[in-house]
């Protein structure tokens, strides 16, 4: 079972060196114990571009699709046997990156 672990920034600001180091340790654990699938950092949504090609022509809009104080700043995709394991890892990840986290199962 794969879970998306979204990292939510609610005004925490840029990542610190301590957070970086803690995230590295956490990533190493995910890899060593076989939970790791993929991960990535996104930063603020300011450079986002929205593309909508459902109509006659492509509409390109500058900025994120959702203006919000809270935004997705990064994510992990993990492989875990059940939600209890995923939540335990998410708790550790939240501590490491010092941000709140959302856990969602892939379909």
């Amino acid at each position: 079972m794969q879970y998306l672990i979204s990292v939510i920034d609610d005004g925490t600001g840029p990542e610190t060196a301590t957070e970086d180091a803690a995230i590295d340790v956490f990533n190493d654990r995910l890899k060593a114990e076989g939970y790791w699938v993929f991960a990535g950092g996104l930063g603020t949504p300011d450079p986002a571009t929205v593309v909508d090609n459902r109509g006659a022509e492509v509409v390109v809009t500058d900025g994120p699709f959702l203006e919000s104080k809270e935004y997705l700043v990064g994510f992990w995709i993990i492989q875990a046997p059940d939600l209890d394991v995923a939540l335990e890892l998410a708790a550790e990840g939240s501590k490491a990156c010092n941000r709140k986290i959302e856990v969602r199962p892939f379909l």
């Binding site: 046997p81 059940d82 939600l83 209890d84 939540l87 856990v103 199962p105």
Partner: protein
């Protein structure tokens, strides 16, 4: 056997066997939805068959067999749908959780799954009452004053989340057990409290169906976890609270405070059982958790012939102990109420006023202030506090009692 006797037998079996049938089927089919529906169908079959064929010698086994057959019928009927489900069966790990027996283990898995921390509190309550308690969705909807559609959706969504997000169907590991048990106890205590002080404006002030259900489920949990002090503590707390329910509402439908209750109307059997449990925990010599301390406080109240006879220094000492575990303003408020009996209303009022900032939206805070101000003869300020309490209270019997106490105050002074 007469029709009435058969009906009693069905009711009793439903109470005793529902959770076991649902748990057994969940194990077999890996699907809470199929288990729930098949269990319900098996009980419908019992209502049809038992008056004709007689009550089977082993009603629990009959129900499990019948429910299993119903589940297989349904799976055959909806073959495609079940295939899709198969990929997303509940996560059942076969490691037996050692200290528990096989049947107990099944029911415990069901309880822990329904009370999983990834589900919202109101969802846990609804799911536990449905899957473990065997209440119907309309019954639960009525109990919590929401529409059947809303409650039905809440239960369905919970079952979907358990399946899709893979909430495991298992007894938690020993290291997680205390936290998870306290999560289950919180659900049961919420059901009890909703019954004991119904929050709706037009419901009965005390709804014994809900308190009885909470007590029944806590008893079940105690059977499954006999060594757990907090489970025993919560059961004792519920019994010692419920014991006073008959004295708690007047003939005219007003809530009666502890100091005005007719203690002869208290239920002596429930008090005796509650006291027995509290003594058992004292003898265990293990540091008590919050439910055990709350039960001990209620044991002191129910040991006293009247307010004056109450060992208030013991009550305050127990609240001190509780404060160390749970330094919340609500605990501090209750401690202040006991302190009024020990050190007088002036001291208590000072303690209560210190909580004003956090508790200003909580009706019990204003009730406490109103009562203390009344005892100090400060009628105008007491009246203002009663007014605020009445604004915030949700239970009509309580509003009636507060209005009466307010109207007994000395008439407003001219300013």
């Amino acid at each position: 056997m007469t029709a009435a006797r058969v009906q009693d037998e069905i009711t009793r079996t439903h109470r005793e066997q529902w959770a076991r049938v649902v748990a057994a089927l969940t194990r077999r089919f890996g699907d809470l939805d199929i288990a729930e529906e098949a269990a319900a169908e098996a009980f419908v079959a019992a209502v049809e068959r038992w008056p004709v064929d007689g009550v089977p010698p082993n009603p629990g086994a009959w129900l499990t067999t019948t429910a299993t057959r119903k589940a297989i019928d349904r799976i055959r009927r909806e073959n495609k749908r079940y295939d899709k489900h198969k990929e997303a069966h509940v996560v059942y790990d076969n490691d037996p959780s050692e200290p528990f027996g096989a049947v107990d283990d099944e029911v415990l898995r069901l309880i822990f799954t329904c009370c999983h921390p990834a589900l919202a509190m109101q969802t846990r309550v609804a799911l536990t009452l449905r899957m473990v308690g065997g209440l119907t969705v309309p019954e639960i909807a009525r109990a919590f004053l929401v529409s059947e559609t809303t409650m039905g959706r809440r239960v369905t969504r919970a079952k979907d989340k358990i399946r899709v997000a893979r909430i495991p169907y298992r007894v938690p590991a020993t290291k997680d057990l205390p936290a998870r048990v306290s999560g289950v106890l919180a659900v049961l205590y919420l059901v009890f409290n909703e019954g004991y002080l119904a929050s709706g404006p037009d419901t009965d002030p005390v709804r014994l169906d809900l308190t009885a259900e909470a007590i029944r489920l806590t008893r079940l949990l105690r059977e499954l976890l006999p060594q757990d002090g907090e489970v025993a503590g919560l059961l004792a707390l519920m019994l010692l609270t419920e014991a006073r329910s008959r004295a708690r509402v007047s003939a005219s439908g007003e809530l009666i405070a502890l100091d005005e209750q007719d203690r002869k109307a208290w239920d002596s059997a429930q008090i005796a059982e509650g006291h027995r449990l509290v003594r058992e925990r004292l003898l265990a010599g293990v540091a008590p958790g919050r439910y055990q301390i709350l039960a001990a406080i209620n044991a002191v109240h129910t040991s006293a012939r009247d307010m004056r006879d109450t060992d208030w220094s013991q009550v305050v000492a127990l609240y001190d102990q509780l404060t160390r575990l749970d330094p919340s303003p609500i605990v501090a408020l209750n401690r202040a109420i006991a302190l009024a009996e020990l050190d007088g209303p002036e001291v208590a009022l000072a303690a209560v006023d210190r909580l004003g900032e956090t508790l200003t939206g909580y009706h019990a805070f204003h009730v406490t202030r109103a009562e203390l101000l009344r005892r100090l003869g400060r009628s105008d300020r007491s009246r203002a506090a009663y007014d605020r309490a009445i604004e915030l209270a949700g239970n009509s019997a309580e509003i009636a009692a507060l209005s009466r106490r307010r109207d007994q105050l000395a008439p407003p002074s001219d300013r």
